[in-house]
Symmetry: C2
DNA sequence: CTGAAAGCGCTTACAG
DNA sequence: CTGAAAGCGCTTACAG
């Protein structure tokens, strides 16, 4: 008997329709659909054939309503030191997704680890697993520990997504984040574009950097590769600062500025610390030197609005968090395929478009 | 009696809980919640007080399931001339949203109008209204006709969102699109940044332009304002091309190139036609002139990848479509507040980040 | 191995 | 003006 649903012109197929067509009860159809066993091979085949023929699509609303059961997810990301911390941003996206999916029973348990202490990651992962989560989102900040954790998750058949940095060799549900090498390459191009070709440029790494190291390395590689390929004659300074202190920066950068010979026209910092350089530039009145850095933390926002920074490369951290949870949700609830390497856009932010840059 | 839901630690409030607390039936609670009348003032007040006290949040899943009714939306946008047309992009976003919301009963009827014929817009709007849509998304391409339509919709109390261009004076549910003026301002800044200060730049409008005119005007204003405010001494050519033909472009641009005096260093086209200039640059071997334009149509993508275009400003057309439908959905189904002027990000695309630029 | 029944939270037509 | 009941599509515990 055709379904009398008011919805749609071509009527929606319900398990009831399948049951009738197969001459079984809806309970049996459900057992087949969810592989709950206790069905003879014969009826199973029959039901599956009809499911396919009618192109049955389960009604997620009805399913979630009837299940009325929590789906626990775990999130493991670095602890944000303050409200301005980079790690607040993925968290915002995760929470937005959590709110939207609460109706479907998704419950998220957060576990924050200390970026200075590997053991906190491992113990956080243990705690997370104790809840028997149906999915995990984590940032593989400590590579070795993360690989181990990932292998364990594979064994336990718990799907997981990675954000911020990737574990290339690991088979995850999805990676959400930048192609770090390419973002460095882009930074090279931007700096090349806005500085005279006969002046030098510098890349400056902060030694006390607590961010993921493989990230920084790849950004630097990309930056250097750009100049190798496109402007090999450009003089390049590769600098490392042990300290974020302005006086220290001055002692490091002043020799390189050499206004007479090949003056320094631009500086690239492959992480969110570019605002330190901006402070130096301002205090020592070196305005005119072009600065490129990463991430929209508020000190950088201030510096870009003040005209001290030209470009900030942004990796959509909120989107990484949001899509990460969404990917888990789609996999677990809707049983959809996920994209393995879901690189987020490499966004270019200037003083002119920053006020319009937002995540949903 | 507390609810025994397995979900959540603080139990979800159901209408049943409210009914019990108020000493009425769930039918009465529903009548109050949906203002269906036929309830005494006294019980109404009592119920509303409890709703507020318990912070009741309706379960959208159950509601949609029980309603089992179509929610018709109408979409009115310009007809895409071919698959490469700009107008395919908002359509993609609209369709993505439509798919996600189909479970909730959202049904979308599309009405495409001809950008060369105002009357097709008016008749499309009439057809759209004949279906009694619960919400409308449209692009106010023809300003006068759109204002009239908007006023009619207000009268009929049909919520509507605008995409692509805005009707500032009209009270819509939401506008999704660029701040056109600011995007032109950004283009000015980018061109200024990548060209030597002692060379000239040009803005080129295509006269046969069929895109929304107010858009173009504001982009141009923004561009000119940038130079007024930041580099008033820069020589600026304001050009208008009656033809997209390369030979015509050559006759127009060659006099301006003046390699001897103040050579032309960059050209800005405030719409998607920048690829025509790229073709001219290539054919006449003027490589080295910086080009900035709009929109990721495939001819522009090709030119930016070939290194002929430096920057494309992108207005996230897919996102405009997606969020437009989502806003209608939230308003109609979830009764949420919408943001009136929801400017989309002004994205900067280069050869280096274009392959990573994607919409969900 | 299979079916009938109750229930998820909300909506609505009907009886009073 | 109000309540009891049936139903949306799916899930599950129980009886056979």
């Amino acid at each position: 008997m055709p379904n009398k649903s008011k919805k749609g012109n071509n009527p929606t197929i319900r398990i009831k329709d399948i049951a009738e067509k197969a001459g079984v009860s809806i309970g049996t159809v459900d057992r087949v659909l969810h592989n709950r066993g206790e069905v003879s091979e014969k009826t199973k085949k029959k039901v599956l054939a009809i499911v396919k023929e009618l192109n049955y699509q389960p009604n997620l609303l009805a399913s979630s309503l009837a299940l009325k059961k929590e789906i626990p997810f775990a999130v493991l990301i670095p602890k944000a030191h303050d409200d301005d911390s980079y790690w607040m941003k993925p968290l915002d996206g995760i929470q937005k997704a959590a709110n939207e999916m609460a109706q479907y029973g998704i419950r998220i348990k957060y576990h924050f680890f200390d970026m200075m202490d590997k053991s906190t990651f491992t113990s956080a992962m243990e705690k997370a697993l104790a809840d028997n989560p149906r999915g995990i989102l984590f940032s593989p900040y400590f590579t070795n520990e993360s690989v181990k954790a990932a292998e364990l998750l594979q064994e336990m058949e718990i799907p997981f997504v990675l954000i911020d940095s990737n574990l290339k060799q690991i088979d995850k549900l999805s990676y959400l984040g930048h192609d770090a090498q390419q973002s460095g390459y882009l930074a090279g191009r931007l700096l090349d574009l806005c500085t005279p070709k006969d002046q030098s440029v510098a890349i400056l790494n902060f030694g006390k950097e607590t961010e993921n190291l493989s990230h920084l390395k790849r950004r630097k590689e990309g930056f250097l590769t750009y100049f190798e390929q496109n402007n090999p004659n450009r003089e390049l300074h590769v600098l490392k600062s042990e300290d974020e202190d302005v006086e220290y920066l001055a002692s490091l950068l002043t020799p390189v500025l050499r206004k007479d010979k090949m003056p320094l026209a631009g500086i690239f910092v492959p992480n969110s610390k570019i605002y330190r350089v901006a402070t130096f530039i301002k205090q020592y009145e070196h305005e005119g030197i072009h600065l490129i850095g990463y991430d929209l933390i508020s000190k950088n926002v201030e510096a870009i609005k003040g005209g001290l920074i030209d470009f900030l490369v942004c990796q959509r951290p909120e989107e990484q968090g949001y899509k990460g949870i969404y990917t888990l949700f789609e996999h677990v609830v809707a049983r959809k395929e996920a994209i393995k390497e879901n690189f987020t856009s490499i966004d270019i932010i200037t003083r002119e478009n920053i006020d319009y840059y937002r995540f949903l």
